[in-house]
Amino acid sequence: MNPFQLDIEGLENKARSIRRKIIRLNADSPAGGHTGADLSQVEIVTSLYFRLLNCAPDRVTDDTRDIYIQSKGHAAGGYYCCLAEAGYFPEDWLPTYQHNDSKLPGHPVRQKTPGVELNTGALGHGLPVAVGLALAAKRDGSPRKVYVLTGDGELAEGSNWEAALVAAHYKLDNLIVINDKNKLQLAGTTESIMRTDPLDKKWQAFGFHVAQCDGNNVASIVETLEGLKAQGQPNVVIANTTKGAGVSFIAGRPEWHHRVPKGEEVELALKELADV
């Protein structure tokens, strides 16, 4: 059971709070950050950790807990802000992000940070490991669900499609892949660098049940994820998002892939993200 089970308004408030944390965390980072990627996934991780996931800070070793894997490991900052908001570790860890000897390094490390399930950072690793976790749960008759969040640029990594074959072959309907489809990657638009569209047809061809949602709208995410049924196929949810969502001067701008807010940008962003 999820310990929060927030309603839509509660999730929206949490998402805003997490966004404010993301701005401060990146502003305090001595080594830059992935602000755009952090912001695009906020509603997805918020919906998972505050409503959907059967896991809690006091159950991080429970064998039946649901597993969330942050395959787009470069958005560790956003992930950390969500975990801190949910109580997995003290919020005063956040200003140490990417500092020397921090428990919050630039990509997730499960040996360092409570709540992190898998060390990622090299792309295309989350889905194959999620397949193994889902397979183990199936064989044990466990109610566990395995969620894995990928970027859309990340889908150029071939290991994802090897794993997709295996997931469908073994009928892993306890596996839910979420593509944070923000349409931007390091060097520009995903469309211009390596096209993934039509993404839904690709997943369908690989044997997945495909759903789509507005990935920056908690109501849309919750409705879509809660509507998934175990029916002998792995699931993918294509979450259409905006990179840098929530802050007007970051949203949709590729230069914010590896940029952090500085000076008056911090105050401007926090002002936009204030509770109404």
Partner: protein, 314 residues
């Protein structure tokens, strides 16, 4: 020889025994059911094997996930593809995540001889030594192989086992007890110390026997445990002679030759080192085992010649 056995056969029996003892062991293969000789296992436990098809990256990633899900995951496929194709999965999903995965590199070295260099793994030890926390073993005979595998299955954490592809006879009698980290002195002699691992240990022993008949006394050390390694014990054995020869069906860079060079220099032991194996910048020849080994001077005749030369120089 009558008591020769394929390591893969030994491996599969270890798996069967482990499951019968209650170990939740899951083999993961990449279409490598014949390579791993896994049929007795699938006959005993029809629903346990995971076959991901010809896809090494997801083989290793899936194994890591199975391990995180509580299983003892063992991957079984040809060493060259395991090491090279899924290199980053081994590094990240297995080693960095410290998952309970045992990687079996089958038909390692130049076991696939005539199939040429795509099928040779002459870099696996050097690559695994570059990863922080994985234990690394290279058994030389069936008894040692069984004991290493039994140990690996009970050890919590990543293990790589370099498995030769040919049936090999025993090096030890039934009193042998594998101890992780310990080099094993198989022959004792003061004039040269020959260190070897895996199937070429047999070449080293044959060479020692030939040399003894010629009045040249050489030690043979089986370094089957690469990590962990009792470096003091190895240094003590190396320090018994002015000459050290390493023998490996592997590149001399990063493998046993490099390891022994490190121990010699770090421990301040004198003497000259000759590293036999695939030379710097080279590949193993394509050909059968006797041919390949002759080309690399890692057959018994090659080892004899090197030892004779070293002894005659003094």
């Amino acid at each position: 020889m009558s008591n020769s056995e394929h390591f893969a056969t030994v491996m599969v029996q270890c798996f069967i025994d482990a499951v019968n003892k209650g170990v939740d062991l899951v083999p993961v293969v990449a279409d490598s059911t014949s390579t791993s000789k896994i049929k007795p296992f699938t006959e005993a436990f029809p629903d346990r094997l995971v076959n991901v098809g010809i896809a090494e990256q997801v083989m290793v990633g899936t194994a890591a996930g199975l391990a995180l899900g509580g299983k003892v995951a063992v991957t079984c496929n040809a060493a060259p593809f395991l090491i090279s194709r899924s290199n980053e999965q081994v590094k990240v999903d297995v080693c960095y995540n410290n998952t309970n995965v045992k990687l079996f590199g089958l038909n390692s070295g130049a076991s696939y001889g005539p199939l040429a260099s795509t099928h040779h793994s002459i870099d696996d030890i050097s690559i695994m030594r570059g990863f922080g926390n994985i234990q690394i073993f290279a058994p030389g005979c069936p008894r040692e192989c069984k004991q290493i595998i039994d140990y690996a299955i009970t050890h919590e954490g990543p293990v790589y086992i370099r498995m030769d592809g040919k049936a090999l006879p025993e090096l030890h009698d039934e009193n042998y007890q594998f101890v992780p980290g310990e080099p094993v002195l198989l022959r004792q002699g003061k004039q040269v110390v020959v260190c070897a691992l895996g199937s070429v240990v047999h070449e080293a022993v044959a060479a020692a026997n030939t040399l003894k008949a010629q009045g040249i006394e050489v030690s043979v050390v089986n370094v089957s445990s690469i990590r962990p390694l009792n470096r003091d014990a190895l240094a003590h054995m190396l320090g018994q002679s002015k000459h050290v020869v390493t023998v490996e069906e592997h590149n001399v860079n990063g493998g046993l030759g490099s390891l022994v060079a490190e121990v010699i220099s770090e421990q301040g032991i004198g003497g000259k080192l000759v590293r036999l194996g695939v030379k710097d910048g080279d590949y193993a020849a394509a050909g059968d085992r006797p041919y390949t080994r002759k080309m690399l001077s890692i057959d018994s005749a090659g080892i004899v010649a090197v030892c004779q030369r070293l002894v005659s120089e003094h």
